[in-house]
Symmetry: C2
Subunit: 166 residues, 2 copies
């Protein structure tokens, strides 16, 4: 059985549809399609998968697979499996919603929130330096509102993670 048992066969209709499902999902999150394909195949595969498996079965380039896997590792959505038959690395998905969401928030959301708060501070300083007329009062009010949005977000995110806990 030259490659009978090895999973280098073309995707089944079922697998393709699961993968498409995840492609839709990651698009909403603003992540590239290849990320969805890779995670989708890992998610629906009973056994861990190597980079070469991804390349063969998904028909994507090695570069894409490599970068996609890196992003997924950084997100904490994928991890190395124990297998390591020889020197090849196999991957398996993390399938706990709590951790997936947590990783996404930590990697994709929090950084933006932080840099946003810095910019807000700098804007407040600009308003502070303006001649104090009606318009600068209006500006100060608006910026105050943005600050409130930001703190709301900071309160809600941990709460969100809590509610998703298993």
């Amino acid at each position: 059985m030259a490659d009978g048992d090895r999973s280098e066969k073309a995707l089944s209709d079922f697998e393709s549809q699961v993968i498409e499902f995840f492609c839709d999902g990651v698009k909403i999150l603003g992540l590239p399609k290849s990320i969805g394909e890779i995670y989708g195949l890992l998610f629906i595969s009973p056994d861990p998968i190597s980079l070469d498996d991804l390349v063969c079965r998904l028909g994507i380039s090695k570069g894409s697979a490599s970068q996609g896997l890196r992003s997924l590792r950084e997100l904490g959505a994928v991890r190395e499996a124990e297998v390591t038959s020889g020197r090849r690395v196999y991957y398996e998905p993390d399938v706990e919603l709590k951790r997936l969401v947590g990783g996404f928030i930590k990697e994709q959301v929090r950084p933006h929130l932080s840099s946003g708060e810095e910019k807000l501070d700098s804007l407040k300083k600009m308003v502070g330096d303006m001649p104090g007329d009606v318009r600068s009062d209006f500006y100060a009010g608006r910026l105050e509102r943005l600050s409130r949005w930001s703190s709301r977000a900071k309160v809600v995110l941990p709460l969100l993670q809590k509610f998703l806990g298993s």
Copy 2:
């Protein structure tokens, strides 16, 4: 004063930075930059603004401004102001976080959730039709997990809106 009081002047440094702030924001949400520019200018302008104002002050095309305003109206992020001096329509932003998030969830998130559930059902049917072996049990388990993710989302979203209430 040909156009002295009319707000067709170039953007001040302050205004530009506020607008940039919103451009960053909408990018995270996967919305086009022009949406951020338009909402940003509306947000920081003490008075309602017409489509032509947006074109002049932001230096974008009429088409972009028109389409951007439509998206923002659909999201409920912007509404027509009472002013209507003559036949021109003026716009003002909705600045309540609760409503902004609510609109985003309703327009951008829920539709995807619904279509996702349909696809999930169809996938479950496929597994049901498979010869009942070890693999199909694994598949059923995975799909079950996806269903749980989906219901979690349906519980969390209204909760989220509640927490953002004023």
